[in-house]
């Protein structure tokens, strides 16, 4: 039984892993955490940005909690190398940590568009807590903010920027917004909604340079007029933090290649979250899913296996949801599968859109857009997730769903989706509440 567990990365996967080790183990083991930052949740930074929560609310583990869990911490340190033959991890201050097994969960970093001026003053990324603080310090009531990139990260902070009283322009290289989250028709619904709510959007524009302009920023493009603003936020993608591991002998493709127990090519090295290339639940193919729920599930499954259980992981489901100006947009699974049978429906007057993708008589992907205040939007969001997650055979209710894409509930219930879900758990046992984690005897 491995006695010394090393958790590299204090994000969602790492935090869930530490908690689950303590839940699962019969005898106390050693846990060591290496984390570049004090653990916090990136998901909630947008709510700190608009000051609807205090900064203290973002942290996911106090020093007291980690002490209660008997975790040895190296916070503020980065791993710089892993010797998988001797099972030693080296940190940036020269510390060497011996382990019996380890979890690599070092997450991702933002990437800025490679243009002159991208690293200048008042040009920000929005990824870490430090970067969030930087954006808070620079946006004032009446500031003009330009966001470069119209992807998920931009959209998570859009409400906060507007709530701060700033004027917002979004520029995007692709022909449309949210290119990796919704399809063309869905993007059009969201784009129209945003423009009706005072957000300016310019798609199909290539940023070429950012210059200082008497205290302001001037953005130049390959075509079209310049933009002058006060603050630039770059949300132009992320890359996995794996440079430090590339010579360690762990097999890396788009991420660390892991098996159904989330073990890498080196059996004592597990990977989870953004850096792991594991099974996609719907396609069964290897994929990197840089989303919160995948990190959470990866962390828990890794930990159960570290604690000596044999827990196989079925795979992770791509799910995304973002609310902009009280319009919800969500997508699940293989929502862009060109081989699937597709039905879609739009209610322009209510800014509602549905796209359902079927493979045989199973729902394998979905997009849903609707007003947050529409009661049925949130019900259907969850039910569509349930249909894709279970892959329950719809039988003749497939035709019903195709002719009634806005009435998901009837088909969901009649297909027995809830009954399929009830016995399903990630760890093969009921989950414990966050505050109930015992400290092993």
């Amino acid at each position: 039984m491995p006695r010394r567990h090393l958790i590299i990365g204090g994000g969602t996967a790492g935090m869930n892993a530490m908690r689950t080790i303590r839940e699962e183990e019969r005898e106390a083991s050693e846990i060591t955490l290496v984390s570049a930052e004090k653990p916090y949740s990136r998901m909630v930074l947008p709510y700190y940005l608009d000051r609807s929560i205090a900064e203290s609310h973002v942290f996911t583990a106090s020093a007291a909690l980690l002490a209660q869990w008997k975790v040895k911490t190296h916070v503020g340190r980065r791993a710089t190398g892993l010797d998988v033959k001797t099972s030693v991890c080296t940190l940036d201050d020269g510390t060497r940590i011996e382990y019996d097994d380890c979890l690599v969960a070092t997450g991702s970093s933002p990437v800025r568009a490679p243009v002159p001026g991208a690293d200048g003053p008042n040009v920000h990324s929005f990824w870490t807590l430090d970067e969030c603080r930087g954006v808070i310090a620079s946006i004032k009531h009446g500031s003009h903010v330009v966001m470069v990139g119209a992807g998920f990260i931009s959209f998570t902070i859009l409400n906060s920027i507007l709530a701060l009283g700033a004027k917002l322009t979004i520029v995007e290289l692709a022909p449309r917004i949210l290119p990796r989250m919704v399809d063309d028709a869905g993007a059009k619904v969201v784009e129209d909604w945003l423009e009706a709510h005072g957000v300016t959007i310019r798609t199909n524009v290539k940023l070429t340079r950012i210059e200082g302009a008497r205290g302001k920023k001037r953005l130049k493009f390959a075509s079209g007029a310049d933009l002058v603003c006060d603050v630039v936020i770059m949300a132009t993608g992320i890359k996995t933090n794996l440079d430090w591991l590339k010579d360690a002998g762990v097999r890396i493709n788009r991420g660390i290649v892991v098996d159904d127990h989330l073990r890498s090519s080196v059996p004592t090295v597990y990977a989870g979250g953004d850096v792991a290339e594991g099974r996609d639940l719907v396609s069964g193919e290897p994929a990197v899913h840089a989303i919160e729920p995948t990190a959470q599930e990866h962390g828990r499954v890794v930990a159960a296996n570290m604690a000596g259980r044999d827990v196989a992981y079925k795979g992770s489901l791509i799910i995304n949801i973002v609310e902009v100006c009280h319009l919800d947009a969500a997508s699940f699974g293989a929502w862009d599968d060109a081989r699937a049978e597709v039905i879609s429906g739009v209610k322009r007057d209510r800014s509602a859109y549905r796209k359902l993708l079927f493979t045989g008589d199973r729902l394998t992907g979905a997009i849903i857009i609707g007003r947050s205040g529409d009661v049925w939007t949130t019900n259907d969001v969850g039910m569509l997730k349930g249909l894709v997650q279970t892959g329950v055979p719809l039988g003749r209710f497939k035709e019903y769903l195709k002719s009634h894409p806005f009435d998901v509930k009837t088909a969901y219930i009649a297909a027995g989706t809830a009954g399929t879900l009830l016995p399903e758990t990630v760890l093969g046992r009921p989950s414990k509440a966050p505050g109930e984690t015992p400290v092993a005897v």
């Binding site: 990136r42 929560i53 995304n320 003749r396 509440a433 966050p434």
Partner: protein, 159 residues
């Protein structure tokens, strides 16, 4: 643990459960704020209430990035309002469609079994909703398969 046992054949569609639930949850008689929802079948001749099963996984609870969903004394998954930031991850993680979001408070809300004394079960005049010590189950499947099939046959899947 005691659960909400639903017997759909007994439901008359009176919506008293929704009225009672919304009053307990948000202090208003407003079905839109209820976390138990009565659905019509067979062209509004049959009805069945649907709500959270308090499932073993607790997809809402495990997905929450700030630990704002816990298990209360009744064994129900319950949202801690002062922790919830309104990120909606639970609404997309719950595969039953029983996590709700209130735009006016910017919080998620769900069935918490009223802390062990569920108002819907009290309000139901026909015992279609009972609070009982039984294993949770997919209470509506057989009922819905039959009643919804009727719609399929009569209207050829269209209406």
């Amino acid at each position: 643990m005691k659960v909400l046992k639903i017997t759909p054949e007994r439901c008359t569609g009176c919506l008293r459960c929704e009225i009672a639930c919304s009053y307990m949850q948000v202090g208003a008689f407003q079905p839109a704020k209820s976390v138990i929802r009565v659905s019509p079948f067979e062209g509004h001749t049959s009805y069945a209430p649907y709500t959270c099963t308090q499932c073993a996984e607790g997809w809402c609870m495990t997905a929450c990035p700030v630990g704002a969903i816990t298990i209360n004394v009744a064994g129900a998954k319950d949202v801690l309002d002062d922790r919830c930031v309104g990120c909606k991850l639970c609404t997309v993680a719950c595969p039953y469609g029983t996590m709700f979001y209130d735009p006016s408070t910017r919080k998620a809300f769900k069935c918490n079994l009223c802390g062990g004394d569920p108002a819907c079960a009290h309000a139901c005049p026909t015992a279609a909703i009972e609070y009982d010590e039984v294993p949770t189950a997919d209470w509506l499947h057989d009922f819905a398969r039959e009643r919804a099939s009727h719609v399929l046959v009569v209207n050829g899947g269209r209406r």
